[in-house]
């Protein structure tokens, strides 16, 4: 009985510690933006990794999302004879919801996992300790460039996602399903306004911070809790990074929507 209470207390304390560590981690990472050393080329390289190399996969996701939205939307709207609204249905659902969320999930899977694994391996190989020995701040050296890169890359990827998705929906809607192209574009331009775009970009900016935070944190402290540094810990850190940041993206998506709508 006593040991049960003890283990519960130890668990609660561990959670409080890790919450505090996560908060401090965020603070150090943001502080690195304002402090030297500024790793300009490393940041550019991270933008390439997170942004440029995700373009193809995001293009594919977006195109097929737009196409399937066209099929599904047409199926429902044609029951009411409202096929003309297809354009605005596709554009609104892409710009407000699917664009930010899908590109965030794709970036988590493609780049977030790699961030966690890369930094986790540096941790188990004691490279992070080596940095500290040389009096180099590991946060501004490893974490901050990834933060900046993902904040720059994700909103741009989201915009790309929106445009490709709308084009995919347009091709299927007008080409295959025979919706009037004029009605498609007119419904689209008249129903989307600046607030919808603003909401989408606020979402993607929040998601980018969340992804970078969770993924670099998980890698940075891989194995610290067990005080054992091995390949298993890196694997676990990568899995946790992807799972937690995907869930965080979806939960925060709900919260941002409920606040901004």
């Amino acid at each position: 009985m006593v040991s049960l209470i003890q283990s519960f207390g130890a668990y609660a304390l561990r959670q409080v510690f890790s919450a505090g560590r996560m908060g401090l981690f965020f603070f150090y990472a943001v502080r690195g933006i304002f402090l030297p050393p500024r790793k300009f080329w490393f940041t550019v390289k991270q933008i390439q990794f997170i942004g440029s190399k995700s373009l193809v996969v995001i293009g594919f996701t977006a195109a097929f999302t737009g196409m399937v939205l066209a099929l599904q939307g047409y199926h429902t709207l044609s029951k009411f004879g409202a096929e003309g609204w297809l354009g605005s249905a596709i554009a609104l659902s892409l710009i407000r919801e699917l664009g930010p969320v899908l590109s965030a999930l794709m970036v988590t899977g493609r780049a977030g996992s790699a961030m966690a694994a890369e930094i986790g391996i540096m941790r188990i190989e004691e490279q992070i300790d080596a940095l500290e020995c040389m009096a180099i701040d590991p946060f501004s050296y490893l974490v901050t460039p990834r933060f900046i890169a993902s904040i720059i890359a994700l909103p741009l990827l989201t915009a790309f996602n929106d445009v490709i998705g709308i084009l995919g929906g347009y091709v299927i809607g007008t080409g295959l399903l025979g919706v009037n192209a004029g009605a498609f574009w007119d419904g689209l331009t008249s129903s989307v306004d600046w607030n919808d775009l603003y909401m989408g970009f606020v979402k993607s900016a929040c998601f980018s911070v969340l992804i970078a935070w969770v993924c670099t944190y998980k890698g940075f402290y891989a194995g610290v809790e067990e005080d054992h540094y091995g390949p298993e810990q890196v694997g676990r850190a990568t899995t946790e990074a992807v799972v937690i940041s995907s869930i965080a993206v979806l939960i925060s998506d709900y919260m941002i929507t409920s606040i901004m709508l």
């Binding site: 080329w41 550019v44 390289k45 933008i47 390439q48 942004g51 440029s52 190399k53 373009l55 554009a91 710009i95 890359a153 909103p155 741009l156 990827l157 915009a159 790309f160 929106d162 445009v163 689209l188 331009t189 008249s190 989307v192 306004d193 600046w194 919808d196 775009l197 970009f201």
Partner: protein, 154 residues
Amino acid sequence: MAPERKGLEFSVGLFLIIGLLCMGYLSLTLGNFGFGKERYEVSATFATVSGLKDKSQVMMAGVVIGEVQRIRLSDSHALITMSINKDVKLEEDSIASIKTMGIIGDKYVSITPGASDVCIQNGGTIRETQPPLDIESLISRFVFGNMETKKPNE
């Protein structure tokens, strides 16, 4: 400059350009930013504007010429302010009416041109207005008949 860095610069630059183009396209064409579109304001008073919203369209002959800017209550009437494209001139005796696109579509303001030589200036008012068709009262009159005119004894 090392060739490796050149490739890096190229791909990041390409990504930034594509992303910014998409963002610009979205915010300019879909966000309805009225860049360089000179507009002027005209107001009109209606008995009721039920269903009209901010940013509703203002049309003449079915062509969009502006949008509703704000709707306020003044002397228990609805005072709406519209912004109209500068190149559209409204005559003093133009008629503003609130209409519906289709049966369940959005409400919009339709302006019928007048014949006067005097045009409305910025900040002017359209005096002739028609309230929207009240479909609910029409239907109820259709369904229940016009009971007031018929006396029970006759």
